[in-house]
Structures are given as C-alpha cells and as structure tokens.
C-alpha cells in the first residue's frame, strides 16, 4: 500500500524518533511510505485554543499535500492530530472555507488513520515482528480513546510483541492533564492530574510508559523526569519498530 506519512509538527520537530519508527515499521511490513515535503501542521493547537480563522491555510495545506489519489491512506503517530483531521478540519472548512476546501477535507479525512488503526483495521496486522524485552505499561490517550475510538488496538499490537512484560496501568483511561494550552492556562490543575498519572505509572514498576501520542508522552515524561522516577516514556511506534537486530536505543533522551 502507498501510505502518506504525516509527521505532525511536534513529531517532526521535537520527537522525530517516533516518526522514524513509524516509517521504518511500515516499510518493513512491505509498504511504500511517502513523505510529502510541503506538510507542516494540522492546526489542532489553534483550533483547540479557540482560533479557527488562522488554521484555514493549514487545513488547506494538509488536504492539498495528502489529497493525491495515489496516496491510499494517510497515517500519523498521533491520536489527537488524527482526531483533529477527522473531526475538526470539517468544522473549520464549513465555517471559513470554500467548496473546494470542503471537498478536499472530506476526501482526505476519510483516509486518515492513527498508527494503531492503520495497522489493525486497514492493514489487518497485529503481529509486526517486534521484540522488546522490557516491562511496559500503556496509557491510552484521550483523543485516541474517545475521539477516534481506537479501543484496545494498541494493546492488541503490544500483546504480540516478543519478550514484552505488559502490565496494566491503574486508572488508565484518566487524562494525564496535558490538553495542549490547558497545561499552560490551567497549570495548577494540569499538574494535579499529572501527579496522579505519574503515581499510577510508577506503581506498576514499569520501565517504560508507552502511548500513541508524543504530546501526552512529553507531558507524562516531563513529570516522570522531574520526580526522577526512573520510568521513561516511549512512543508505541518505537516499541513496534524494535526488533532483535535493530533494538530501540533506550538510552536516548527523546520520547
């Protein structure tokens, strides 16, 4: 399958290893991964902060770069960006866009997937040949869970990883408190939520907390690092891309 990879602005700039892992994983599974170089950002931060005029060009750019019919599916290692594309781009296009933009958004959002959705629903694979001999706990991110409804797809993938010691996270479905600019505007409340999440994670004794969103992992990882917990965060894609011959370099600092 010819798959368009959307790196997301956060992934491209700050957490490239998760995007690299996505590209390598899909290529290893025999797919043709393309990276339209004109891509930038989906505009989620703008929309969620209350700005819908400003991201119109971003929504248009996304539809233009990935609208090409030769791209059969668009994937991104982020539940919240996929949620924005599928649920919010239409709102922006309806309000401030033209007919062409509305049509473009319809086309591209219908073929947009978060990584675990693409693997399980579209490519029909749960065994991806990964090897990751570590104790891992999984945090389902809010937008992947309640906007995209990925359900247990990430867990189906993780259960097939060879050598993994997968432990359940208590209160897993509670928000970590990130919420984009929420973490800045309501830093106190966000921190209270974060502390409860990091307490749950450290109680599992896991070496690694994984999730499908680098943004939530940036938040959780920032909290775990501050309390010197010894537990680190790693994007789901990196676990799935790790093999016996090419293990993930866990010593790296980035998520």
């Amino acid at each position: 399958m010819r798959i368009g990879l959307f790196a997301t602005c956060l992934g491209d700039t700050l957490f490239p290893d998760a995007v690299k892992a996505t590209a390598i994983l899909l290529t290893r599974l025999g797919h043709d991964v393309v990276f339209p170089p004109g891509q930038t950002c989906c505009g989620q931060m703008h929309i969620n902060t209350g700005y819908q005029r400003e991201p119109v060009p971003l929504v248009r750019n996304f539809a233009d770069r990935f609208g090409d019919a030769s791209i059969e599916a668009v994937v991104m290692p982020s539940g919240s960006c996929a949620g924005s594309v599928r649920h919010q781009h239409r709102i922006v296009a309806d309000r401030y866009g033209d007919a062409a933009l509305r049509a473009g958004v319809e086309t591209v959002s219908a073929k947009t997937y978060e990584l675990s959705e693409l693997l399980v629903d579209v490519l029909g694979v749960t065994q991806v040949g990964a090897y990751f001999p570590h104790r891992v706990t999984y945090h389902p991110t809010c937008h992947s869970l309640r906007m995209l409804r990925v359900g247990d797809k990430p867990l189906q993938l993780l259960r097939e990883v060879e050598g993994i010691d997968l432990v359940e996270l208590p209160g897993a479905e509670s928000c970590c408190g990130f919420g984009g600019t929420f973490a800045l505007k309501n830093a106190g409340t966000s921190t209270a939520m974060l502390h409860d999440k990091t307490d749950s994670i450290t109680a599992t004794g896991a070496e690694v907390c994984t999730a499908g969103d680098s943004s939530c992992l940036m938040h959780i990882g920032g909290g775990l690092s501050r309390i010197r917990s010894g537990t680190r965060t790693l994007h789901l894609a990196r676990i799935l891309a790790a093999t016996r011959t090419t293990p993930d370099a866990l010593t790296e600092a980035s998520v």
């Binding site: 990276f35 209350g50 921190t191 939520m193």
Partner: protein
C-alpha cells in the same frame, strides 16, 4: 419602481441571564485556592470515584442504554427546535387544570414573582425542595431580604444553607463537606440539637429530620423546581431520593414551582426515556426512591393553589446560538461532573456558578454571557478543560461538551481584540503555512539545545511556559528533524534496509507456499 423597505436589521439579542451565574475571579485563580485544600481533594476523589463505579454498573447492564441516550438526545433536540409552541401548550394545559402560569424574563423578575406570591398567602416562611433553578436566581437571598424565611429540606442543601455556604455539585451540593464538618455545622446552627451529636451519618440525618419535620407540618407554602414539565398534559415532575420533596409537594396549601423553560418535554410518554436516563446517570440507581408527578390542582388532595414560574434567564439567548444551544439539552444529572478530571481536583466552587463542571463550563457562558466586562471570569470557563472527552461519553443526552467548549473558545477569541496570544497564534500559523519558513523555524528550535542542562533536559522556562516547567522537565530539541533525517543518507539507508527485510520476508513466505504446493 421599487419601495425601499429599510435595511434588514438583526433581531435584538435576547438578554443574558442574571443571578448566581458568574464568579468573582477567573477559573485558574479560583482553582488554585481549591487545589491547595487537601481535605476537599480527598472528599471529592472518594465521592466521585464511588459514584462513577455505580453509574458504570447500572448503565452497563442495560442492553439498550445507547438507544436510550439517542432517544433522549433526539427528544431534547426536538424540544429546543419548537420551544415556543411547547411552552404555550404547557401554559394552556396547566391553566386548564387550575394552575397559574407566570413568565419570568430573568432572575430578578422570577424572585419578585415568587416573593409576591408568598406574601399574598400571608406566610413569612417557605419549605423548599432542592432546585437548581432557584439556586441560579438566588431566590433564598431574595426571600430573606423581604422578610421571608426559606427552609431547604434536602439534607445536603440544608447543610449548605446552615453553613451559609454555596453548593459545589449539582446533585450532591455538600460534596465538599465530610461528616465531621457536617456535625459541627449542625451543632452550631440547628436550634436545640443534641449537644452529644456524633458524626455517624444516620445520626446526622436523624438530627436534620427532627429539625425539618416541624417545618413540613407547619409551612403553608412550598417552593420547588421541576425536572420535567409535560406540554401535552401540563404535568410537572420532581425526582428525588429523600422524600422531603414529596412532603413539600403535598403538605402545604400553596406550591410555587420555578422551572427553566428548557425543562419542557413534548409528551407524557417521553418520561419513559428520561426516568431511565436520569437516575442511572445521576445517583447510579436503577430508579430513584421518589418520583412525584402533579397536574394543576386536585380538590381535596395536595396544594389548593399551584403556580408555575417559567424562567428564561438567558435561555432564549442560548437558544439563539445554533451550536451552543445543545447545552440546553442538559437534564442536570451531574454525570459529567463525576467523570471530569478537572472537577475532581478543583471542586465546584472554582467555576463561580450554580452550574459547575463540564456542563457548567458551557452552560454558564451560554446563559450569562462571557463578555460582560473585560476579563469576564466566565470567559475562562471554556478553557477549564483538557478536552479529554469523558463528559461526552457519560452524558445521557449525548451533549458533545468538548466540541461546545472548543466552539465557545472560538466565540471568545472572536470577541476579544488583539491579545499577545492571538498575535502568537497568527505568527505561528503564518510560519506553518509556508513550508520553507517552517523548515527554517524548525532549525531555530534546535537552539533550545543551548539552554538544556548536561542531562539533555530543560528544567526552567520563562512565562507563559513557567507553569509548565514548574512540574515538568522538557527534553532538549533533537539534533535533527524527521524531515531532514528522511532526506539524509542515513534515513534513506535505514528505509532501504527495512524494505530489504520486507522483500526477504516476502520471498520466504513465497517459498513456504511453494513448498506446501509441492507436497
């Protein structure tokens, strides 16, 4: 020749609601004080997690729960779409059955109507059934100001009233109080209470019951809210747990019911849906202990005089917002409060309104507006959410609260002039719409490596990011962006190696097939 008919003018915007719908400080500031209250955090954490589990149990056991939610949502949406005709029908039916209907534009008008009706009976006290509408309009304070004493008869409302406190939860108004605090409130405020009163819940309830029993038997006037008002029959409904409502609705001579206009339902049969949705969502019970239904007055049975005060107080203004009006579908079950990670930590007072939690964060600005003055505290409410979506999943009438919050945030930024944030957002969008400029900006972000410590993390950031760095480390930006890696020799080699693995795996699979074919 044409006749000039004048410029079409937009209809006058309905007035916003008044009363207890605006705090005196913005949410983050108010939340800061509440977050420091460990007792409150413990009370709330325990109470909300218990009720969450109960709700999940009783909603999960119904095979048609999702269909019920759809039905509830559809009935409410239909109601809002033809609210004027339904309200007139309700008025007609209530009048036919011997009741009197009053229309109140806002809190002040509703308060005046109720006070006038009470005075006309010659009584100087009323017993009250727990009601959000009368909390919203500040009826108790108004009645006291004109020499009428209101007695709250719901246990939790009584606790709040005796302590001169404010409710912090729609269903459990004293959720922020524990039994020791309640014992002290009763000892201080209930006349003639046993000084040996301990903190056993049954004993506390008995103390309240002893105090209230006399009021039930002597009060001539009761004031209630309504959970539902049926347009088809003129029937009003109150659902409750303690039986105090039943006594208020049946014992006094005069009953005055204050009902928000959005509480109307078209048909009697619609109760079938809502009497399943409401108790399961609010208290986590299959059925609430007391459901009282009454239609006008019945000679020889119950109050001889019945008044229905239909309260607008900003609801027409909310109805004018085609997206935001969905907030009016709320049936005040409080399920969204109990699942909200923000409410669980801050409690209800931080919202500054009678309506706290996720629904309060959309309903309060809808009813009372959020641009009454510069830095209106209500404009901070739509941001009091991480948009986690738990509220939407819990809502029995499927109000998409996260989308409404995002919509209200948009309305807010459209209303405010130029702000630093808006300039930053415009600048970010201007960069991100131009891939070349974006790539340059990405390279500049690499400068963050300079401020990182030796362990590769940044532990302090300047405002507005200092709230972030107070409790979180930030990893230094990487040496290389994804796009530069993808275009690099290293990236190309890594992907070539992965493709080779795919090819050899495929070849192996094919040879397996061939072998099988051969055998």
């Amino acid at each position: 020749m044409s006749t000039f008919l004048g410029m079409p003018a937009p209809p006058p915007r309905p007035p916003p609601g008044t009363g207890n719908l605006r705090g005196d400080q913005a949410f983050p500031r108010a939340a800061h004080d509440e977050l420091g209250n460990d007792q409150l955090r413990r009370n709330l954490g325990r109470a909300t997690s218990t009720i969450r589990a109960k709700r999940l149990h009783v909603t999960g056991e119904l095979p048609d729960w999702e269909a019920l939610r759809d039905a509830g949502s559809a009935i409410k949406t239909d109601t809002m779409n033809r609210l004027p005709e339904l309200l007139e029908q309700l008025e007609r039916k209530v009048t036919e059955r011997g009741g009197t209907v009053h229309w109140a534009r806002d809190a002040a008008e509703a308060n005046e109507i109720v006070a006038r009706l009470v005075k006309a009976t010659g009584s100087d006290e009323v017993v009250k059934v727990k009601s959000m509408a009368t909390q919203e309009i500040g009826l108790n304070e108004h009645l006291e100001s004109v020499g009428i004493t209101p007695y709250e008869t719901d246990l939790a409302e009584l606790i709040v009233q005796l302590a001169h406190d404010k409710p912090s939860h729609i269903l459990v108004p004293a959720i922020h109080r524990n039994r020791d605090e309640i014992r002290q409130i009763f000892l201080d405020r209930i006349p003639g209470v046993d000084p040996e009163l301990d903190n056993v819940p049954a004993h506390l309830a008995a103390a309240a019951r002893g105090y209230l029993r006399e009021k039930f038997l002597t009060a001539k006037v009761a004031v209630s809210g309504a959970n539902f008002g049926i347009a088809e029959t003129g029937t009003l409904a109150v659902v409750e747990s303690e039986g105090n409502g039943r006594m208020c609705l049946t014992l006094p001579d005069t009953l005055i019911t204050v009902m928000g206009i959005e509480k109307v339902l078209p048909r009697y049969q619609d109760l079938e849906v809502f009497l399943q949705l409401l108790p399961r969502s609010s208290t986590g019970e299959r059925m609430n202990p007391y459901t009282s239904l009454w239609t006008g007055v019945t000679p020889g049975d119950g109050p001889r005089d019945f008044h229905l005060v239909l309260l607008d107080n900003g609801r027409t203004a909310a109805l004018a917002d085609t997206i935001g009006r969905a907030a009016l579908n709320c049936i005040r079950c409080s399920a969204c409060l109990n699942v909200c990670p923000v409410y669980e930590r801050t409690g209800g007072h931080a919202y500054g309104s009678t309506y706290p939690g996720p629904i309060g964060a959309v309903l309060t600005p809808q009813l009372a507006g959020m641009h009454a003055a510069k830095d209106d505290p209500n404009s901070s409410l739509p941001y009091a959410s991480s948009l986690c979506g738990a509220c939407f999943d819990a809502c029995p009438v499927k109000i998409d609260i996260p989308s409404l919050l995002v919509e209200l945030r948009h309305q807010h930024t459209e209303q405010t002039g130029v702000t630093t944030e808006k300039l930053a957002m415009k600048a970010a969008a201007a960069v991100m719409r131009r891939p070349g400029l974006y790539t340059t900006a990405q390279k500049a972000s690499g400068l963050g490596r300079v401020v990182a410590g030796r362990d590769g993390t940044i532990s302090r950031l300047p405002p507005p990011f200092s709230g972030w760095s107070d409790s979180r480390d930030t990893a230094a930006p990487p040496r290389e962006t994804f796009r530069s890696w993808f275009a690099s020799d290293e990236g190309r080699a890594a992907l070539r190696a992965a493709a080779t693995e795919a090819n050899s795996a495929r070849a192996e699979e094919n040879s397996d097939h061939d072998e099988k074919d051969a055998t």
